[in-house]
Symmetry: C2
């Protein structure tokens, strides 16, 4: 095993990316934009052609220099095998992966003699697409990227993977592998599964009932609309963390049901207040504390240019918009646009937009 601690710390390349799908090709594009040589591998020649055609790197031929870092970007089921293969095929290289679950693959890889060269990671970015066709150098811009060294990861490996995250524009956050898996079970996997259960109750709704759907149910169920393919690999790979949280939700559901059955409003208040506290615990804008926001609703006729005019008017008022939602008007061609702004600016925005002729309410 090489003495990894004497290597140069900076990530200079070449970087070999194994798996030229959305994440792999996007990492390639981001690194190429920083002038780093990228070598691409993929079992699917079409992915390889697309990714290299986009400029994400050069397909391997066997005559290229050895990589400084190998990034494994294959589906969850294949991570452990490909990480081990990379440690063996490139005995001088650091190795990372971008899988959604960290402890399962590590349990296999941990047996490997050179596991010190491996440091897992997980960029919190993705879309509903999976192939390289929609890859982008800016996919990771400003997103959290978990860097998950294990007990025997070399500090230099951790440093190089942290630099990988930084070079793509992401914000690296250090997590232990188990800690990471517990965190994403809570912030991603369980919310996804619960959204699927709520959406499942819509699938068999009686005729006409869903006409009363408002923005709330759309928000709650939105993530459940994504293709199940990747989730069928993620969920089993993080089964224990997910099952522990589902068990807690089941206990809360027990309390909720008995509160409703017995008409115990204090118990019901406890469940609802805990939910309010949870939404406030999510980090706010720019990672800072959550600042109180309030909404202004604007009726926008569904014609070209209206959204642009609205935002030009909002801009003229000088109020920063924290979030926007459009709720399409089921009755006519138009929508309600919800502008979420700092609570202290909401009156000013509403009256200014009203003065500019918009139909506004708060």
């Amino acid at each position: 095993m090489p003495d990894v601690d004497r290597r140069p710390v900076a990530l200079v390349g070449p970087v070999r990316i194994v798996g030229a799908g959305l994440l792999g090709a996007s990492i390639g594009l981001a690194l190429r934009a920083r002038g780093i040589d990228v070598q691409l591998e993929d079992l699917d020649p079409a992915n390889l052609r697309t990714a290299s055609g986009l400029g994400a790197g050069v397909p391997v031929t066997g005559s290229e220099p050895e990589p400084q870092l190998v990034v494994v970007a294959v589906p969850p089921d294949h991570l452990a095998r490909v990480i081990e293969g990379a440690l063996e095929a490139h005995p001088q290289a650091f190795v990372t992966d971008v899988g959604s679950v960290k402890s399962g693959p590590l349990a296999t890889v941990a047996e490997h003699a050179d596991v010190a060269r491996y440091c897992g990671s997980h960029p919190m970015a993705g879309t509903q697409h999976t192939g390289p066709l929609t890859a982008s150098a800016t996919l990771f811009e400003g997103r959290p990227w978990a860097v998950t060294p294990h007990a025997t990861t070399s500090p230099v490996a951790t440093q190089v993977v942290t630099e990988l995250a930084e070079l793509t524009g992401a914000m690296p956050l250090a997590f232990g592998p188990d800690e990471h898996d517990l965190a994403v079970a809570r912030t991603s996997h369980v919310p996804h599964l619960m959204a699927a259960l709520v959406a499942g109750r819509l699938a068999d709704a009686p005729e006409g009932h869903l006409a009363l759907s408002g923005p709330g149910v759309r928000d709650v169920t939105r993530v459940a609309g994504t293709d199940p393919g990747m989730w069928l690999q993620i969920v089993p790979a993080n089964a224990s963390a997910i099952l522990a949280l589902l068990g807690q939700i089941r206990a809360d559901l027990d309390r909720l049901e008995s509160a409703i059955e017995s008409g115990d409003r204090d118990a019901l208040r406890g469940v609802l207040a805990n939910g309010v506290a949870g939404t406030r615990a999510i980090p706010g804008k720019h990672g800072g504390p959550v600042r109180p926001t309030s909404s202004v609703f604007v009726h926008v006729p569904d014609q070209p240019g209206n959204l642009a005019r609205l935002f030009a008017d909002v801009d003229a008022v000088g109020v920063n918009v924290e979030d926007v939602r459009i709720d399409h008007d089921p009755a006519r061609a138009g929508g309600q646009v919800e502008l979420v702004v700092d609570e202290t600016r909401v009156e000013e925005l509403a009256s200014s937009l009203d003065a500019r002729g918009w139909a506004v309410h708060q």
Copy 2:
């Protein structure tokens, strides 16, 4: 009892609104904008002053003409009593209410000799506010408004309440009272409660775990951030419909847990696929079928004018935006703006915005 079927069908007023909160005052403003006389009642003199000051109507003095229609807009706990009071105090008037649950109040009111003059209703509109200060004549613009005649409601009462919904700009939809309660349990009450359970698991997250929160968990939990006050009255009033659906979700949770425990991917796929089907069952834009959409993500530096410039550029491309979300960048001052557009236009929008200098990915 008057012969209600010989009355004129048109809603011409006066309309008496009992409860000058957000909904009551907004109805008053919408009716005043159509030239209809509005009489306001509220136990709270401050609400009455605010609502009448906004132009939602005139506080009752005792010397006004008898109303053609009484609209009861009081909190759920007081609906039945106030509806009965209105039937008695105004023996010529039609009576409606705007409560979120219909069968409970009806069960009490049904004993009343003049119940034919009562037709329940429920506008699907509201905000996080409850008082009249943020009332608006456009609150109901384009929203569904359930009109819920019971077995002995006079057809003329149903007609007048339907006209009330139309005059506010809402889209009236006829539902039986029980049918309405089943529908809103599914599309509103149960999604709200499940969002509260997921959010509750965030409230006790270990330090640092929520830094990995992405747009998904924010969407799933957003509605759980609203004040529990009104929900403490709504949920008990629709207990049986809610409990039936929660029982079904519990059965689905059993299936989900055992699928994860046993590693049964086919069963897991079934749960996830049912969720996908549910999201697709929600009526799409303008009540039509759901059309496939896709997203373009744009990195927008957090400076005044950038959102306005983005929407001006989107407008110049000529692609209609179906939905917008802003995911604030935890690392720096900026955000990812997600533009949801017709799937067939997504490539054109992405390449056009890229050409205009925006950092874009799909």
